[in-house]
């Protein structure tokens, strides 16, 4: 693999625009500086056609082998947006950029090709997106569930915001759960719940106690 020299974020975007043209819906750079010197770090956000996902990642690999972090996802209503978050130029002093490729999948066709043939380490993240968003990653080498238990109901996708998301009856509110009823009797009897007393009477008792 030939290594290209270090590029600026704008140069990376220009390269993508030159190669993919109208396939790129959005390309922008965000920057952030912290500390006293406010040394900047840069994030590149590129939103592309679904078909261009793999060529876009391949292009990044040609620039410099990237680090793949994770796939994040947004439920946008009719579509699910997947964000492939990578970083490039690690090892360069303050020269690493996060590069995020966004693609949109209509809910009528939730399929996306696997990128594990390019970056095998993306497997866990792809498995996670399958179970949490109900998408199908085609040609995934291992399509089993990752985090959800085997007895988790099929067809429920926790991060979806539509009717396939977590249903209200699946949520157990901690505050609403009463104390367990099936425990043996404790050796010391439990305290009786405080009986409501009129305010004046309660005050008298309290002052009486303090005086003793």
């Amino acid at each position: 693999m030939t290594e290209t020299p270090h590029l600026s974020p704008q140069e990376i975007i220009d390269l993508y625009k030159a190669e993919f043209g109208v396939g790129i819906h959005e390309a922008r750079i965000t920057e952030r500086g912290e500390g006293v010197k406010k040394t900047k770090n840069y994030n590149i956000w590129i939103r592309v056609d679904r078909e261009l996902l793999k060529p876009a990642i391949k292009k990044l690999m040609d620039i410099r082998f990237p680090h793949f972090a994770v796939i994040a996802g947004n439920d946008l209503g009719d579509e699910i947006e997947l964000l492939y978050i990578l970083s490039v130029f690690y090892g360069t002093k303050f020269g690493e950029y996060m590069v995020t490729f966004g693609i949109r999948l209509p809910k009528t066709d939730l399929t996306v090709p696997t990128i594990t043939d390019l970056i095998p380490g993306a497997l866990l993240s792809e498995r996670e997106k399958q179970e949490f968003f109900g998408i199908t990653v085609t040609d995934i080498p291992d399509g089993r569930r990752l985090f959800l238990p085997d007895d988790f109901p099929q067809g429920v996708y926790p991060w979806r915001k539509d009717e396939t998301g977590i249903k209200p009856e699946m949520v157990r509110e901690l505050w609403a759960i009463d104390r367990p009823k099936d425990r043996p009797v404790p050796p010391v009897p439990e305290k009786k719940p405080v009986v409501e007393v009129p305010a004046a009477e309660g005050m008298e008792k309290k002052t009486g106690g303090a005086a003793e």
Binding site: T30, R32, G33, E34, G35, V36, K37, K38, T39, K40, N41, N43, W45, F65, H67, F68, A69, V70, A72, G73, N74, D75, L83, I85, S87, F89, Y90, G91, T92, K93, F94, G95, E96, Y97, M98, T100, I119, P120, G121, A122, L123, L124, S125, R144, R145, L146, F147, L148, P149, P158, W159, I166
Partner: protein, 412 residues
Amino acid sequence: MNGDTTKKSTPYTIPIGPVHPALKEPVMFTFQMEGEVVRSVDFAPGNTHRGIEWMGMRRNPVQIVHLTDRICGICGIVHSLSFARAVEQIAEIEVPPRADYIRTILHELERMQSHILWAGVAAHELGFDSLLFLAWRVREQSMDLIENLTGNRVNYGIVQIGGVRRDISDDQRPVIEQGLAYYRGLIDQMKTVFLDDSTIRMRCRGHGLLSYRDAQLLCAIGPTARASGVAMDVRHDYPYCAYGDLDVHPVLPPQEFGGPQGDVYDRIIVRLLEIAQSIDIIQQCLDSMPAGEILWEKKLPKLLSILKKAQGEAIGRVEAPRGECMHYVRMDGNEAPATWKVKASSYSNLMSWIPMLKGEQLADVPIIVASIDPCMSCTDRVTIIRNGAADNLTKEELTRLSREKTRRLSRC
């Protein structure tokens, strides 16, 4: 399974887990064994998936900061820092420089206590329990320092959106300096104990190998990647908090120890050297700490009303003791974020187990599994299925196997 139909016992399957305290998240391992040698590995995480991201998407960012404190029991600051940094970028909140320095100091103290904790557990996995207790005793100093600065040993609750919740007073500076002096005096001793020991070298050199290429392809991060020669360190590559002002370099196994070979021994070296590096970074922070405010907005209702209006997406990223920790947050003008994705460090390191464990002996499994620092304890329960009959191998027996190997080697 291989195609050998003449033998019914090879390869046989050993499941380890799912309750497996050698890991932060209990993981179910399935090993295909041939004799003592691991032929292939499969693992299934998720036994402690608590749906924290789902919970977060129903809460406001200030509440989530306290939820992030509880994602991990060792990394108390990295998740809250990542999340806060993401939200600060969306709402265009400028963090006061003093708060950035305080965040950095705690970030490094956490790295020190985490690496020393790991060193102790590694010693335990190898059968050196005296070293475990010694390591954990010296770890107390960093825990005390963290408690002094934040009020808590774990779940610090120090990070707030827009800054930190407690300042470092002039009275606390000598306490930090004292703590740093204590560790400066210990570093050489720790290096001697861990790196000059012939048994540790025999057990760790050349075991659990992860090549440079595999580390890249399997997206390894942190000390796991650096021990394989991949020079990546978010603090050096991607400035955040005070690191843009400081001198930080990724720690690679030095030439004097044979350069990066990507084995368990290199992972020990990298973590020990990083403790020394953390001392240096904290000293740099103390020397150049700016004065000023520690919070962008003190009044919580005002902060919340600003966050409620914020729209956009951002990535908050920090170098945790185990590697890159990353939070993606998207806010759309509601009280709760629309999306919150947490990528903890071990998430990226788990895949490295597969090449590391292949071809190794069963007795080496505990130290190799522990070497990526997935969070520590020990193997809880192992069921061996031999000739179709299930046999229960306890954590004690597996540790005994590991110790016997150490003794066998020491006698040679």
